[in-house]
Symmetry: C2
Subunit: 302 residues, 2 copies
């Protein structure tokens, strides 16, 4: 489930982890291996049971039937769910964790959400003595398995300092970028870059293939200079070979770009190319590619 | 004029170098230092005189009044001029080098041009016993000064093998990508990527700045992952600081994108975002930014 990793020594905490998807599952396992007590919750209980079985019915691992129950005895609650609505449900919904948490506890949310919900939950938490930190991640499933994610945080400095060593169980870099919502805004900056880089790579590679060039060779040559990118190095070759059955799905990318476009409208910023690429992704979805990797934008151009 | 460099030993040749701009000037100087005889030509003769003075009135350096004269006794003619029209003038124009070159000689063109002119000159050259190689470069003025350019070549394999060691006087990588025109097509692939990466970076950074983030810090954080690019590392910080008085000028980028769009139409490829970015660059030109670095796209978004 997870790769071996050397963890920095930390005081064992009582943690709750909500959401055991492709990201949350390995992240929760790293926390357990790092020495913490981990109570897991997943909307589909079978996934929580499977996780417990996979970590070998570890004595410090347990599961709860609701976020409310999972959070009741936790020092820190961590969540990695689908979207704003899912986060609302596990925090302030009828069975939400906020209702059972004591004063002085922490909530760290790894979901990619709007900045507004992060600000709202931070404000609501403050009134209840709960410190909320938005902490979206990048690095994908492989980053979670290897414990080398990048985490972008927004929230109070003191709480951040307390929880950062815990998060490093599955992260290479944990950085505070400002007040509540700042982590989400930084993640949006990241996704705007990714979308544009992938689209230009798609146009360039489809162009080169139509022109009859050996695109593996071209990628090798231009990968040293001003055109180079992580996407070119890591997705260029698979785009040339037309393989998309891995990576970060188009459906998820569209969710993220929706957040970017909403926030841009709120800030008075314009994202003309990002908006266009969001439409291109809608076309890929219509082609049946919702689960294809984001690099599948090139399929529109063939 | 150029940085120190250790050159691989090569048989000294009689070379002609046409076009002593920010790229050609240092390139010709490297050839001289590598041990060749170099006759230079520049449309504005004062530039050729200045180049001769700068290389210290070297005994193996001389200048010619026309391309015809420069090429007359050359084993290899190299050119680095402005565009297709300039290349036509120095090759087949009334005073063009093609008229004085002997059989078995070589022409290496470093100009970024259309693929079509490269194919045409290769065909015309073949009839005259001159082998023409298109060899556009990337790496900019600094790459030329340090002798670490990337050169993308199209043309005959045997001629390429003969000339590649000569070109390595100012290049780190010299690669043949196929038949005549293939070098130009690969350069277009490069420029399509650059344009898209810069635009997405511009949208992302302007968005983050409007949202009040410390963008230097955000760049540092996301520079490790899927959003990262050469442009983010090398132009992100200067874009945040609104500095554009260096680098690769918008006017030149528009010339290159024009070549890409023409060629795409010919190939039946579509470049929707590249086309849009070309229009954005036209807006930057209208703002008086023709000489600004390509990263100045962000100025439209502020």
């Amino acid at each position: 489930m997870i790769a071996d990793k050397t963890y920095e020594p930390v005081e064992p905490l009582r943690l709750a982890f909500l959401g055991l998807g492709t990201m949350g599952g390995p992240m929760a396992a790293h926390l357990l291996r790092a020495g913490h007590h981990v109570t897991v919750y997943n909307r589909t209980a079978a996934k929580a049971e499977a996780w417990l079985a996979e970590v070998g019915k570890h004595p410090q691992a347990s599961m709860a039937a609701t976020p409310l129950e999972a959070a009741a005895s936790a020092d820190v609650v961590l969540s990695c769910v689908g979207n704003d609505q899912d986060l609302t449900e596990v925090t302030t919904g009828p069975q939400g964790g906020f209702h059972s948490m004591g004063r002085g506890t922490l909530w760290v949310d790894h979901t990619t959400t709007s900045a507004q919900i992060a600000r709202d939950l931070a404000a609501l938490g403050r009134a209840k003595g709960i410190t909320f930190i938005d902490a979206p991640v990048s690095g994908g499933n492989l980053g979670a398995i290897n414990g080398v994610l990048t985490i972008m945080c927004g929230g109070e400095q003191a709480a951040f300092d307390r929880v950062a060593p815990v998060l490093r169980a599955y992260a290479r870099a944990v950085t505070r970028l400002g007040d509540p919502g700042a982590g989400q805004l930084a993640k949006m900056v990241n996704q705007i870059c990714v979308a544009g880089v992938v689209q230009s790579l798609a146009e360039a590679l489809a162009f080169g293939q139509k022109a009859g060039l050996d695109m593996h060779k071209v990628i090798e040559v231009i990968s040293q200079g001003a055109a180079s990118s992580w996407q070119m190095a890591n997705r260029g070759p698979t785009m040339v070979d037309d393989r998309f059955d891995f990576g970060f799905a188009v459906d998820w990318m569209r969710k993220d770009l929706g957040l970017c476009l909403d926030e841009a409208r709120r800030q008075g910023a314009v994202l003309p190319v990002t908006e266009l690429i969001d439409e291109y992704y809608a076309e890929v979805q219509a082609m049946g590619g919702g689960r294809w990797d984001t690099s599948s934008l090139i399929r529109r151009l063939r």
